[in-house]
């Protein structure tokens, strides 16, 4: 009996020892990350059956258990991968957010200063200092574009580098998890009923860390290992094998670092961006796609639109030397491709065909002239180039039909026009003012007017595109807008041949591509980098208009002509080859136009002139107003603006660009377009901040819940320590009692 008492005491002693051991393990790991407190599971031994019933045989420690909830751990992982994503996104987007709206470093003050410079020239057109100040503010503006773009580029480089190092971190965690899996298999091989608690803690901690870098899903295997996947099931760890990820420049866009996996054959398969979500890496990838690319594209778009529109207006003016204005802003051309250097057009490295694309942003006005049989279409920005007959443009077979030039669909009426009728097309204008009929057109021409339309609004967008060769459709090429994966319907041009136009960009194709070949086009990405000021001589600023108007001093009537303005520059008519005379014929109420060719022999019909009213007259790109009551034979003149150094008409037209809504389909000024980026980035930053805070508090709650269950409480452990110490003392006392009983028995028989 006393042996049993000693035995029971011994089991209690051992159990108390195990308890103290576990408690001390808990105490020493109280601050170990990922540690879950452990408890001993104590059970009674198999009782001994006797005639008088079952006698307990003491205790034993069945198991050392970690206090762990799979559910709570999952909640922490889910919240923390979001926190990781939001944190890394926020860290990046905050930099742009601060930079773009800065009162001194943003684009806004430079834009305002530039237009103040233009207004300065308008106020003092002949002043060299005002002109110099315009050039300096233009240079400051282009420098500002470049600086902002440079910061964005540096950030892009930084993010790409960070993606590369993230991939390293992910690979390192993956291989550690694979190792721990291996250790767990080995630990389990001895006794599969016991859990290697500390190894499991270690693996859970590694999974949590990996999950903070990128969102993962896990699958427990029967051998105790865990398999880890990213995205839609791309394995990173399978049993004891880690699959390493690779970061490398994308095959479709070398500027972009993408993540790939090495296949068994050694090929690297690029992972879809959409697979990389959650965690730091997910945050970086979404920052690139959602904030950095749009901001840089938009900045480039403002640069291109500002430059082309300013140049277009500037070209209509006359400089101090009496010549037509040249380009104030310019973009360098890449010698290799002949395209503007800012235009990113990448052929996928996997392309197998010989198809090649070039792209350009075309902004031009057009003149359509009918000679009685044929239409001639001139592209005005190209020195008034006549679209060639071979392109099917100069023909009368377009009866009621239409032709596409640079994405502009020009519809030519089949009948009703007379020889000499002419039209001006400004595609950048809203539909209502896009086509202007010359005021010398025959009366019937007004009813059967030429029209011009564009797919969409034709305005340049701040988007990127993928162009795939599918071999089907009118050109075989399919254009997809990358921001929303929409397939576009480009306009197929008659001129230039083999080209399509979509969203303000014209793409020319040559060679023979194979189905599946693809290209990535980023039309505006680098424009802010490249914009430069082309003029350094103050005399070359075109502040005046290339013509002036005059009323003959011997007129007897009160007819007057206003100063007039340029609507388009038609190189065939401007500069004026000499004095053009408009003579009023009171009998027919017409004005006859005489002067050097091509100005000679035109007539403004009665329909376009009412004496005593303001009559707006459009003539070969010049617009002026005839008013008052002229007498028969009264004359007004259009003359070359010789020595017109104080003329500021064009400077004012240039200044008016500041408040004209010329962006986003005639809905926004430059400043408003820029404010939109600031607002978008600001909103994104705010969204990420708020979401990040919400996720952070979710993560805190989840980890608090885990801590409540699994965390070590030192007070509790102290209490356990005392408890096990007392149990130990009591068991020792039991052995002492057993031994004393035995001694009593021996002394009784001894």
């Amino acid at each position: 009996m006393s042996t049993s008492i000693v035995n029971n005491g011994l089991t209690g002693l051992l159990a108390a020892q195990a308890g103290i051991l576990t408690t001390s393990h808990n105490i020493s790991n109280a601050t170990t990350p990922g540690y879950n407190r452990q408890l001993i599971v104590q059970t009674t031994n198999q009782p001994m059956q006797t005639g008088s019933g079952f006698f307990g045989q003491g205790t034993n420690v069945a198991n050392v258990q970690r206090v762990y909830s799979q559910y709570l751990a999952g909640a922490v992982m889910a919240a923390q991968t979001q926190v990781g994503e939001m944190d890394s996104y926020l860290a990046q987007v905050q930099q742009i957010d601060n930079m773009l709206a800065d009162k001194t470093a943003g684009l806004s003050p430079a834009l305002s200063d530039f237009f103040a410079g233009v207004q300065g020239v308008a106020a003092n057109p002949s002043s060299v200092s005002a002109r110099q100040s315009l050039l300096s503010s233009a240079q400051a503006l282009t420098a500002r574009f470049a600086t902002l773009n440079q910061s964005l580029d540096e950030q892009r480089q930084g993010v790409n580098d960070q993606i590369t190092s993230e991939v390293g971190v992910i690979n390192s965690y993956a291989s550690q998890i694979a190792q721990v899996n291996q250790q767990i298999i080995m630990a389990n091989s001895g006794n599969s009923s016991q859990q290697p608690n500390d190894l499991l803690d270690q693996r859970d901690e590694l999974l949590q860390k990996l999950n903070q870098e990128i969102r993962v899903t896990t699958a427990m295997q029967s051998d105790g290992t865990v398999s880890v996947f990213i995205g839609n099931g791309q394995p990173v760890v399978m049993n004891t094998t880690a699959y390493s990820l690779v970061a490398q420049p994308s095959k479709s866009d070398p500027q972009q670092t993408v993540v790939g996996v090495k296949a068994i054959n050694g090929n690297i398969i690029e992972l879809q961006q959409s697979m990389l979500t959650g965690g730091t890496l997910g945050g970086l990838v979404s920052f690139l796609n959602e904030s950095l690319d749009p901001a840089q594209n938009e900045l480039g778009r403002i640069a291109i639109t500002l430059a082309t529109q300013f140049n277009q207006q500037h070209a209509m003016g006359q400089d101090l030397n009496g010549n037509l204005g040249g380009d104030l802003f310019s973009f360098p051309t890449a010698t290799s491709s002949g395209m503007a250097a800012y235009m990113n057009l990448y052929a996928n490295k996997n392309n197998t065909g010989s198809g090649a694309l070039t792209a350009q942003v075309v902004q031009s006005d057009y003149r359509v002239v009918y000679d009685g049989t044929n239409y001639s279409v001139y592209r005005l920005n190209d020195n008034g180039t006549l679209m060639p007959a071979s392109a099917g443009l100069v023909t009368n077979t377009f009866a009621g039909g239409s032709i596409n030039v640079d994405g502009v669909t020009i519809t030519l009426p089949a009948a009703g026009l007379s020889a000499g009728d002419a039209f001006t097309i400004k595609p950048e204008n809203p539909t209502a003012t896009r086509v202007t009929a010359d005021s010398t057109n025959s009366a019937a021409a007004a009813a059967t007017a030429v029209t011009a339309t564009q797919a969409g609004d034709g305005a340049l967008a701040a988007d990127d595109y993928r162009i795939d060769y599918t071999g089907t459709g009118p050109t075989g090429y399919m254009v997809t807008r990358l921001s929303d994966n929409t397939v576009l319907t480009p306009t197929v041009n008659n001129f230039p041949p083999n080209s399509i136009t979509f969203e303000g960009v014209t793409v020319h194709f040559t060679g023979s591509p194979n189905v599946g070949d693809s290209f990535v086009l980023q039309p505006t990405r680098n424009a802010a980098r490249d914009i430069t000021v082309n003029i350094s001589d103050t005399a070359l600023i075109a502040a005046g208009d290339p013509f002036r108007t005059r009323v003959d001093t011997s007129n007897t009537g009160t007819g007057t002509i206003d100063a007039g303005s340029m609507t388009v520059l038609d190189p065939a008519s401007i500069p004026l080859p000499g004095q053009v005379t408009l003579t009023y014929n009171s009998g027919a109420n017409t004005w006859s136009v005489t002067g050097p060719a091509p100005w000679n022999g035109l007539t403004i019909p009665s329909a376009n002139f009412t004496a005593g009213q303001q009559n707006v007259i459009d003539l070969k790109g010049i617009r002026f107003t005839l008013s008052g009551t002229p007498q028969n034979g009264d004359r007004v003149y259009l003359e070359p603006n010789t020595s017109g150094v104080s003329d500021n008409r064009n400077a004012q037209a240039l200044g008016a660009l500041q408040t004209s809504r010329l962006m986003e389909g005639n809905s926004a000024t430059y400043q408003e377009a820029y404010a939109q980026i600031v607002s978008e980035v600001g909103n994104k930053t705010r969204e990420v901040t708020v979401t990040g805070q919400a996720q952070q508090s979710l993560a805190n709650q989840a980890s608090d819940a885990v801590q409540q269950l699994s965390g070590v409480n030192l007070d509790e452990e102290a209490a356990n320590l005392i408890r096990y110490q007392q149990a130990y003392q009591a068991s020792a006392k039991m052995i002492d009692v057993g031994s004393k009983l035995f001694d009593t028995f021996l002394s009784a028989i001894g």
């Binding site: 905050q94 943003g106 002949s126 017109g644 003329d647 500021n648 408040t659 705010r686 030192l714 209490a719």
Partner: protein, 449 residues
């Protein structure tokens, strides 16, 4: 609820961090004076602020343009004011010069002063602004508008030519208003209608009588404008022998200079009339009686109407002629030089019937000076109206500026009372968090073991 020891530390630290971050943000707002430190604080306000700032910049630019326009107009106005004085002085001198009692030396001094006024006028016409651009040359600011030289004009050269153009410089002074800041010199100096604006009267240089014709007046402009022929003459005939009545009676005829027909008879004018019938078909001349240029009762011929009348004063001699021609434009230079010419002519030929020539010339000059003066007043009133407009625009401009500043302030600026209160609140919370953290972390059963 079970609490783990690390939770006590984590939670305490977390709330200290949160309070510090919120304090830092409030401090940033207070020190910068801006509620919107980065666009993320209020993206809508930030974007709106950019647009409003630009609108304010543009408004400021319009303010600057208004000042420039005001400067230019004030400069032009001061030149025009001098021009007005010159014309007034020349008018006085012309009236003085008409005084038959003047001595040769008086005439000489008048003509000398006129010459210096002419030079002064040239100076005004070729005035330059602060940039050295000519004010009155339209858009050809680098081109001297007038090369006026009194001796060239006297020598019979044509009228002064204007070398500028007809452009008007404009400045944008409000979103929709372009204000004219210059007037072309032609408009001010050379495009002056002579005569009464419709026709100009003149005397024939060979006249021997003392008849002086006035500028005449137009009673019906439309009638005058519609005439096919616009050149006429009033011919004076004296019935010296009394063929048609009292000897020495003076008659006049109105003759279409283009056809040579008498308007009174409708037939070829008798030149000179000799028979009684010829004299009787004419009208009798009375000193200072209005000569109606239309058919009157008693005229033998068909109806005619030139739409106006003239008046001849004095005693014209037989064969004297007064012409009526359509108005043209004549420069102020030419008007003054004509006067100088007449005065100097009188000086050179004191005995000739120069007094009638001078009187006619002075009458014409006065008419033309009045035309010039009207023209100057017209331009000046335009300048005055524009200066007035600029004054009111500048008021609007300042109002707008204030409004934009207010809007910007509402969008961006910090509410100090609110932010300071927030700061105090975070400070108190931080203090509490720190103190409680210290207290809680000091607890522990091990302290008692």
């Amino acid at each position: 609820m079970r609490i783990s020891t690390s939770m006590i530390y984590d939670t305490g630290l977390r709330s200290i961090n949160d309070q510090t971050a919120s304090m830092l943000h409030t401090q940033q707002q207070l020190s910068s004076g801006r509620r919107v430190v980065t666009p993320a604080d209020d993206p809508v306000a930030a974007a709106r602020a950019l647009v409003v700032t630009e609108a304010q910049d543009i408004n400021t630019q319009f303010g600057t343009n208004q000042s420039s326009a005001k400067e230019a107009l004030s400069l032009e106005e001061s030149q025009m004011s001098v021009l007005n004085d010159i014309i007034t002085r020349v008018r006085e001198l012309a009236v003085q010069g008409g005084d038959a009692a003047l001595s040769q030396s008086d005439l000489r001094s008048i003509s000398d002063e006129l010459r210096s006024r002419f030079d002064e006028l040239t100076g005004i016409a070729n005035a330059t602004d602060a940039n050295g651009d000519y004010i009155f040359s339209g858009n050809m600011g680098g081109t001297k508008p007038f090369g006026a030289n009194v001796d060239n004009l006297l020598a019979g050269g044509g009228d002064v030519t204007y070398s500028g153009d007809y452009g008007q410089r404009n400045l944008q002074v409000s979103p929709t208003r372009f204000i004219q800041t210059s007037d072309s010199g032609a408009d001010i100096f050379t495009q002056v209608r002579n005569g009464n604006g419709s026709f100009v009267t003149d005397y024939n240089g060979n006249n021997t009588g003392s008849g002086v014709i006035d500028a005449g007046s137009v009673t019906n402009t439309a009638t005058w404008n519609a005439l096919a022929d616009k050149n006429y003459s009033v011919n004076i005939w004296v019935d010296a022998t009394g063929v048609a009545g009292t000897a020495g009676t003076t008659y006049y005829d109105i003759v279409d200079s283009t056809t040579g027909n008498s308007m009174l008879t409708g037939a070829a004018a008798a030149n000179p009339p000799t028979t009684a019938a010829q004299f009787q078909s004419l009208r009798k001349y009375y000193d200072n009686q209005t000569i109606q240029l239309s058919r009157q009762t008693g005229d033998p011929g068909p109806a005619f109407d030139l739409g106006g009348n003239v008046t001849i004063t004095g005693t014209p001699a037989n064969g004297d002629q007064f012409t009526i021609a359509p108005s043209t434009t004549q420069s102020v230079f030419k008007t003054i030089s004509n006067l100088i010419g007449a005065l100097e002519n009188k000086l050179a030929n004191p005995t000739k019937s120069g007094s009638a020539a001078l009187a006619n010339e002075i009458a014409q000059t006065l008419t033309n000076l009045d035309q010039a003066n009207d023209n100057v007043l017209r331009v000046r009133s335009g300048i005055g109206a524009r200066l007035n407009e600029l004054d009111s625009l500048s008021g609007v401009n300042q109002d707008l500026n204030l409004r934009y500043s207010e809007t910007l302030s509402n969008l961006q600026d910090v509410d100090y009372a609110k932010s300071i209160s927030n700061l105090m609140q975070s400070q108190t919370s931080l203090d509490a968090a720190q103190k409680s953290y210290l207290k809680v972390t000091q607890l522990g059963l091990f302290n008692y073991l």
